[in-house]
């Protein structure tokens, strides 16, 4: 993926509405901000604060051929491949999670060449977003050199440092078309507060040309202003705010719910026994057929939601 020219980045930013205006919208309206073929960066990491609700909305809207990028990719990557949402994922690691082993679906798609898993080191993904966030075309780094990971990616350069003469790797900036980020709290203007682990979300929001926030709760601007140090993403980078309670389920949202282990075990069983056909049925049942987000959550069930929420709140116990 080529580095976006600086002039383009500045022009696009200049053209965006950066005023303190309300941006609350429906899942469907937010999905309309994403075009087929866009580069869409996903916030969170592995099983944490994954923007599942936004991905759910994009798959339902029939978006195709996105390039997805994320720090680490869990089973949302399977869903993207099988639904056609994306056949190109840039990430550092891709499987449901260590405890469930390899993703049979990822394997089937990538080993047959039907989809691409473009592998960068974790820090390289982070520095690429950071370069994008900083408005510079690259970041120098001291990893990936000497490995075959470097041989298989395009767009990097090695250079001798003009100050010290040391060998450095230059990582090309990523400026995603869209960032999807799930948070605990956000106001109607897009001031997003994140509790706990931040992952790469702040850099992704700063680097992207459009940002869609899904949030456990929409809170008042007064509440945001009472604890502005908790605001991690400022309103002027945000284009859409969607209220999505349990919006990362079956993954976790720090302090609100832990992973839904029953659901994740069940999903792992589906992929292990039925492979991509099983995922297709899962998509029908949980993504395409439900009337709305509440319908999706009904498939997970009240008992599991209560259990995950009870475990989630435990971070606040002494």
């Amino acid at each position: 993926m080529a580095v976006t020219p600086y002039e383009t980045i500045r022009e696009r930013t200049r053209a965006r509405d950066r005023s303190l205006t309300e941006k609350v919208m429906s899942f469907e309206e937010a999905a309309a901000l994403v075009k087929d073929g866009d580069h869409v960066a996903l916030g969170g990491c592995t099983l944490s604060r994954t923007p599942i609700a936004a991905i759910w909305a994009l798959i339902r809207a029939g978006r195709k051929d996105l390039v997805l990028s994320r720090s680490i990719t869990s089973n949302e990557g399977d869903l993207a491949y099988v639904s056609g949402l994306s056949s190109h994922i840039m990430t550092s690691w891709f499987a449901q999670g260590i405890v469930w082993g390899l993703s049979k679906v990822m394997r089937a798609y990538t080993e047959s060449g039907r989809a691409e898993f473009e592998e960068w080191s974790h820090m390289a993904m982070g520095l690429r977003y950071r370069a994008g966030a900083m408005g510079v075309p690259f970041m120098p780094a001291r990893s990936m050199m000497g490995s075959n990971v470097l041989d298989r990616v395009a767009g990097t350069k090695e250079m001798d440092c003009p100050f010290t003469g040391e060998r450095l790797l230059l990582l090309p900036a990523l400026n995603p078309d869209v960032a999807l980020i799930h948070v605990q709290r956000c106001d109607a203007y897009g001031n997003a507060q994140i509790d706990g682990l931040q992952f790469m979300d702040i850099d992704i929001a700063m680097a992207a040309n459009r940002v869609i926030i899904t949030t456990e709760r929409i809170v008042s601007n007064d509440q945001i202003r009472r604890a502005p140090d908790q605001t991690k993403i400022p309103f002027f980078t945000v284009d859409a705010v969607v209220e999505a309670p349990y919006g990362s389920a079956p993954h976790e949202c720090y302090g609100v719910y832990e992973p839904f282990f029953n659901e994740l075990d069940a999903y792992a069983k589906i992929t292990a026994t039925e492979g991509e056909e099983g995922v297709r049925k899962y998509l029908d049942r949980c993504f395409y057929e439900p009337e709305d987000w509440a319908g999706y959550l009904s498939h997970i069930g009240v008992a599991d939601i209560l259990d995950a929420a009870k475990r989630g709140r435990r971070v606040y116990d002494d």
């Binding site: 690691w93 260590i98 080191s121 000497g146």
Partner: protein
């Protein structure tokens, strides 16, 4: 669940291969070190070290966690969930915790890997030809960064299919082609400090960077180690025997992983 028993000397408690591996790995860690841990055996080993000889050891998780203490029985499913943050000193973005490696604050990175070769290079990306892989593995995660920027300890079961002459793909660099090739690639620091297995503790020849037996696990011979390795190991004339797991170490480990998710 089948239990994979190692063969301890007659006067000690029985232990599994995974327990042996975890305990041996924990002993390589030193008090006061800053250690990048993964999930499973590496986390258990670092936590065990904290509870035995290294109370001042600091754990880092690549999810952005500085100095947590893990709750027994509540092991995190990856390095990126809230369970990783228990009693942490600080939470930072992923990129910033990884940059601590580049800045030089990290003493040890703790790694696994599907394949390791005679120079300590690790593969967690592809089995077979990367263009037409037999198996596409999950990839580097932070492994490449950790191995590029810090000294690493590799903890793995000792199997011929894992210890290969040349890895199919270098995901995380060890000593590359041996000698000074690592530094020439732009990696002046780090390298593989120790490979800990259920059969032996292995190091690397200081000049050639070829893998060498440093110590044998109790009841294991050098021939057995060589037979389970897909390349010729450097075998010194006198190889010491490592101390068997103690009852205290085993008891702490049982408490940390009561369901034996990682130490079966």
């Amino acid at each position: 669940m089948t239990t994979d028993l190692a063969t301890p000397p007659a006067d000690t408690k029985p232990y599994t291969k995974s327990q042996l591996l975890t305990i041996s790995a924990s002993r390589v860690l030193e008090d006061g070190q800053i250690v990048f841990a993964g999930i499973g055996i590496t986390l258990l080993a670092a936590t065990l070290a904290q509870r035995t000889h290294a109370p001042g050891l600091t754990i880092l998780f690549e999810g952005g966690v500085i100095g947590p203490f893990i709750q027994p029985g509540e092991l995190p499913p990856s390095t990126n969930e809230q369970r990783c943050t228990r009693r942490a000193n600080m939470l930072v973005p992923i990129t910033d915790v990884l940059l601590l490696l580049q800045r030089g604050y990290v003493d040890i990175g703790f790694m696994g890997g599907a394949q390791i070769d005679r120079y300590g290079n690790l593969n967690s990306s592809y089995i077979g030809d990367p263009d037409m892989p037999k198996t596409r593995l999950p990839g580097t995660g932070g492994g490449n960064d950790i191995a590029s920027l810090a000294e690493i300890i590799v903890a793995t079961k000792h199997e011929k299919r894992r210890f290969v002459e040349k890895v199919d793909f270098v995901t995380s660099p060890g000593f590359i082609d041996g000698g000074d090739s690592r530094a020439r690639c732009g990696l002046p620091y780090g390298g593989v400090k120790k490979v800990v297995t259920d059969l032996a503790l292995l190091g690397f020849d200081p000049d050639t960077k070829l893998m060498r037996i440093d110590a044998l696990q109790p009841g294991v011979t050098a021939e057995e180690v060589q037979d389970n390795t897909g390349f010729d190991l450097v075998i010194p004339d006198d190889v010491p025997i490592a101390e068997a797991p103690t009852a205290t170490e085993l008891a702490i480990l049982e408490n940390l992983d009561p369901e034996r998710l990682y130490t079966h």
